[in-house]
Each structure stands twice: as C-alpha cells, then as structure tokens.
Symmetry: none
Subunit: 200 residues, 4 copies
DNA sequence: CATGAATGAGAGTTCATTCAT
DNA sequence: GATGAATGAACTCTCATTCAT
C-alpha cells in the first residue's frame, strides 16, 4: 500500500512539475512558442517522458486552464469575510487584478487566449468561471441591499464591474501598458478601483 | 495611361485581398497559427505571389495594425463635434466598443494579439495608439472643466475609462460573453456605459 | 538594311550588357548566389527580358566561359613579340596571373569552377584552352633551343610552368591569400616568377 | 556500461556517416548545391535526423574543414624525419600533392571551395592552415642554412613552393587534367617536383 | 519509468522560369 | 521587344509525436 501511495505521489509530483514549467513558459512566450522540448528542458527530463504524463500538448494547456480557475476562485473567496459590502467589492476587484498580475499566465489562458483545440469548447470549463461570476453578483446584491447601486440593474452592474477589472487585467497581461513606468501601474489600478466605486 | 492605372488598381486590389485574408486568419487563429500558405489558399494564389506584395509575414501584420489604428482614430474623431462633454464621453466610449464589435479582427490585432518579433515593440507603432489616448484625455479634461470628475486625477480617469471599454471590447472579441444571449449584449454595454458615467 | 543593322547592334549590345553584369556578379558572389533578378537589376531591365537573349542561366555561364578563353588567348599572344625566350616566358607567366587578377571572374569560370550542367562537358570548349597550352609549349621549346631547360622533358616543363602560375592565380581568386597584406601580393608573385626562372 | 558505450559508438558512427556523405557531395557539387535532403537521402535517413547531430549545414562544412586540416598536417609531419633538407622538401611537396589526390574532396573543401558565410572567414580556422605553412617555411629555412636558395627571400620561396604544389593539386582535383592519360599524371608530377628543385 | 533516436509534416522564404499583355 | 505577375519546386530548419530499448 505504501508503495502504491508513493508511486501515486510521485506521479502527481511529476504532473505538477510539468504543469509549472509549462505555465511559466506559456505565459512568457505564448502557447505556440512553447515547445515540448522547452518544457522537458525546464524539468530536466526527456521530451518523451512528458508523454507518459500527458497525452499531448493541448492536454497540458487544458489542465492549466482548469487549475487557473480553481486557484482564481479560491482567491476570490478570500475576501468574502469582509463585512462592509463596499469594502468587500473593492477588495474583490483588487483580488481580481492581483490574480492577473501574479499569474499572468493563468489569466491569459483563462480569459484571453483562444483555446487551442475545437473539441473542448467553452461549455466544458466555463462552469468554473460561472461560479466566480455568481460570487460577484452576490456581493453586488448585498451592496444593493445596503443601499448602493440605486437604480442599477444587477446584470448591468456585474457586467460593468467585470469589464472594468478585466480591462485592466488584460491590458496588463498583454503588455499594452508598456508606455507607463512600471511603478505607476499599481497606484493607477488602485485609483481606478476607487474611481469606479463613486458609481456605486 | 489607362493601362498604368488599371495595373495600379490591380496591385492595390491584390494587396487588399491579401490583407483581408490575413486579417480574418490572424484574428481567428492567432498570428502564429496563420501560415503564408493559408493566406495564399484563401486568396487562391500561390505562396510566392504574396511575397510580390509583402516583404514577409510580419509586414502584413503591421500593415493591418496601422490600418486598424487609422480607422480607429477616424471613428473616435467622429464624436468630437458633440458639445456636452458628458454626452461626448458617452459617445466616445460607445464608438470605442462599436469599433471592436464591427471590426473584431482589427481590434484583436491592435489591442489583444501578441505582436510578432520583440524588436518592433510599441515604440514604432504605438504612437498611433497614443493619439487616441490623448483624445480621451482631452475629452476628460473638458469634462473636468465643466465641473465633473471632482477630485479625480486625470491619469486615473483616463486609465479607468480605457480599461472599462477595453474590458467590454476584449471580452466580446475573445468570445467570453458566449453565455449571454447575443441580443442582450448591446443593451448591456449601453447600460454599463451609463453606469460608469455615475462616477464622473 | 540600316534598320536591320541597328536591330542587330542593339541585340548585341544587350547581350553584352547582360554578360558584363553576370560576369561581375558571378565573380563577386559565385554562380549559385547570383539570381536572375540580380542580373536584371544590374542592367536595369526586367527579369523576363534576359530570357529574350539567353535561354537560361547556364547559357549565360557558358557564353562567359567562351569569352574568357578568347580574351585569355589574346592576352597570351600579346607577349609573343618579345625576342628573348626567357624574358618572353617571364612575361607569359606574368600575363597569365595578371589575367586572373584582372578578371578573377573569368579565371574562376575557366579554370576553377565546376561546370554547371553535365551536357557541356570538357570536350566542347577545352579546345580553346588547348591553344594557349600549345603556345606555352612553343615558348618553352624555343627557350630550349636557346640552351635552357637542359635535361628537362618538354611536357614536364610545360606542366610545371602551368601549375605554378595556376597555383598563384587560383589561390588569389579563391581568396586563400587573405592572410597576406594586399600590397604584398603582387611583389610576391613577381618574386616567385623570378624564382622559378632559376630552374630554366 | 556496455550500453552506454554502444550508444556512444553509434552516435559517432552516425556523425561519421553524415560527414562522409556530405564530403562527397560538397566536393562533387559544391557547397551551395548540396542540400540537407541530399545528405539525408545518401545516408538513408530523414532530414530532421541530421539536425540531431549537427546544428546546421555550415557546421558540417566546418567539421570537414577541420578534419581535413588535421589529417593534412599529420601527413606533412610524416616527412620531417628526413635529414637532407632538399630531399625533405621534395618529400614534403610529394606528400602535399598525394594528400590532394588521395582525398580530393578534403582538398577541395580546404583549399578550393568557397567557404560559406562571410563571418567565419579565415580568422577562425585558418590557424590550422597556418601551421602547415610554418612547417614549409621551416624546411626552406633549413635548406637555406645548408646553402640552398641563395639570394631568395624566404617569403618568396615559401609562396612559390606552395603555389607550385597547389597548382598541381587543384588542376587535378578540379579535373583540368582530363586531357592527359591518367597514368601520365603521377610521373608528370614527380618530374615537375624535380624540375622545381633546380631552382633551389 | 525514462530515454534518445527518428520522422513526417509543415513552417517561412527564395528563385528560375513562363506567359499574357 | 519588354514587362510584371505568377508559380512550382526547392531550400533550410523546427517540432509534436512515436517507439524500441
């Protein structure tokens, strides 16, 4: 039994290692510029070995995709303890963008990249994303109950807030903020989040 | 004389055809997944022919990039006649998103796609984008002078507005709004633009 | 009649122009690196035009080959007026190497290059070369009659002299003397020719 | 252990096979006319396989180049035991030409072929050639000390001797001696070497 | 389990040559 | 006679994937 477990664990560790290497590379160089060889080099195994753990390149991509959403959801949940709904919304937005900046690779894969193969279209994994969107709506609803968002439709509000943070996140991830000094970006984002809250 | 003109026109048409084919493909499949052969197939010419009109693959990309920005700027300018600064800002945002929805391929190439080859990073062609960003700032400044955006930093305001519309545009272009019925999208965007204006 | 002649002359001039352009290019960049386009650019005509005057690229090559031999023979003849057989041999050798240095392109094509197409093997044009070899032998024979080359076989002498000058010429043409300062090469060659004459 | 060695050996054999195929081809058809596909066909492997053993085409060329010079130098050294400086010079020359006749492909690649890519001009690998030239000079100097080459400059003498043997070698390698019966060539060369020694 | 060797398909690009105008 | 447009075949090189060991 111990043997079986160890093997299981080793297998998991290997898959993990591959995933980490691939994630870093995907994010740095883009899906298409990542070769199986680069991944193999990074984990210091041979190319063939990767195929013992993953069927092909796109399987790695989708595993990452799912991981991303799981991690993302966890991050979102972490602000739910905040009592004040406005503060919570602010923290929620901040967490969103923080996630994108911390794991641009994941964010890219989740919200920007075109999916590599036709088969695994949205339906499959969007459910994951739905959860976090529901969370956002919940938080907005509670803010509404506390007297905010007067006269605003829930769907509109949710869409607005999402668009707003996604806008910042994706400009950052796809390097469209290059003309700004790096150290200005974070304050700018915080300022923007503050600014948005004036509309609540 | 007529001959020369006809040749001129044919040349232009060919360049146009290549550009159109490439634009569609770049946006559908991403720069790296577009091959010169695919473009050639699409226009039903041989591969070599493309090289009679464009130096290489990246030249096609950058031509599209520039075209996009030119068109884009024109669209932005079209709202400048509106007197009321708030109305103008609204129209500005609407024009922005409209452009993305009307020419998703251009929008993709301009604001989402990873650009080919590091060398030609922003410096070269971002200037084009800068113009439209300046326009946005101008409009905000005039709104400020009319008493809006109290206590808001200009840079923060501009970044906020850009992020907001880019968020909507890129969610649309990269098909992350699939879970919503198509006919809801436009009203949603209008609602969102209205919502944002509460913060002014 | 005048018209016919003019046309004839123009045709000749064109062929000449093509040949000159090609010769320069072949010598500078080597047969394979010369494209029809490069030749066309050089004469400021379109690529297609060349095909009105020459069947294909290799025809140009062979025309040059023949020209080379003709020119070469002429150059050799130019020393035949010298009375003293030893002086004449010296001048002969000097003329040989001079030709190679003056028209490295021709020399290359004539004595170094592998011929591009199988059909036109040696037999065809070697006759041209034979003539000049006969000239060399004649000069040696006359030197013998004047008391030189005691105990040396004519064939051996001819082969030696040819090898000697060809050695210098081909090292020069194929750039194997790069490690020597350019200005040293000519004196070196003259010294070498003097040196060889000690064996006469 | 045995496994590792076998693999090592197989790797070496493969590199060797590629080298042999390439050498033959380079010498027969010239660097530019040799394609990776031709090499691959010759060894009956796929094109890609070659790239597992050599970085690119020019690496194959330079490996051959170096091999040639190494072998060549060895051959030159083999006459150094001869005491009499004149005899030694004769043997030296003979060894030179013999090398060219025995390994015409190597000789071609080393002293006749146009080298690929300007960058790697002499500087890099000519050093190898320099060694053998120094050897020649040494032998001449010793002959001088023994009273030969009276009044002859060392550089001139070295250049003369090199040109002489290179002339014979390259006429042979590039098949410019076709008009002579094969069996005459060797005696002719020996006669020529004898003849040259009259100048010492 | 891990590997190194191998490959087929395909990438961007170039070029001699043809041909309608 | 001259051209510009077009092409097919070829080039070097890369890579995801397979498989015997």
């Amino acid at each position: 039994m111990g043997v079986k477990e160890r093997k299981e664990r080793q297998k998991t560790e290997m898959r993990e290692a591959i995933l980490n290497a691939a994630l870093k590379l995907f994010s740095d160089e883009g899906y298409d510029n990542v070769t199986m060889r680069k991944i193999a080099d990074k984990i210091e195994y041979s190319v063939g070995t990767i195929y013992l753990y993953y069927k092909d390149k796109s399987e790695i991509f989708f595993e990452l995709h799912n991981r991303g959403f799981a991690e993302f959801y966890k991050k979102q949940l972490s602000v739910q303890h905040i009592k004040d709904p406005i503060e919570r919304l602010y923290a929620h937005g901040e967490a969103y963008v923080q996630f994108a900046m911390e794991y641009p690779e994941y964010y890219d894969v989740m919200f920007i990249s075109r999916t590599p193969s036709k088969e695994l279209k949205k339906n499959d994994h969007w459910i994951e994303g739905e959860r976090t969107y529901d969370l956002l709506k919940l938080n907005i609803k509670q803010a509404m109950e506390a007297g905010h968002f007067k006269g605003v439709d829930l769907e509109v509000a949710a869409f607005s807030l999402w668009s707003f943070v996604h806008g910042m996140a994706s400009l950052y991830v796809r390097e469209r903020l290059m003309m700004m000094p790096t150290e200005f970006i974070k304050p700018l984002i915080q300022g923007a989040l503050q600014f948005l809250s004036r509309a609540y």
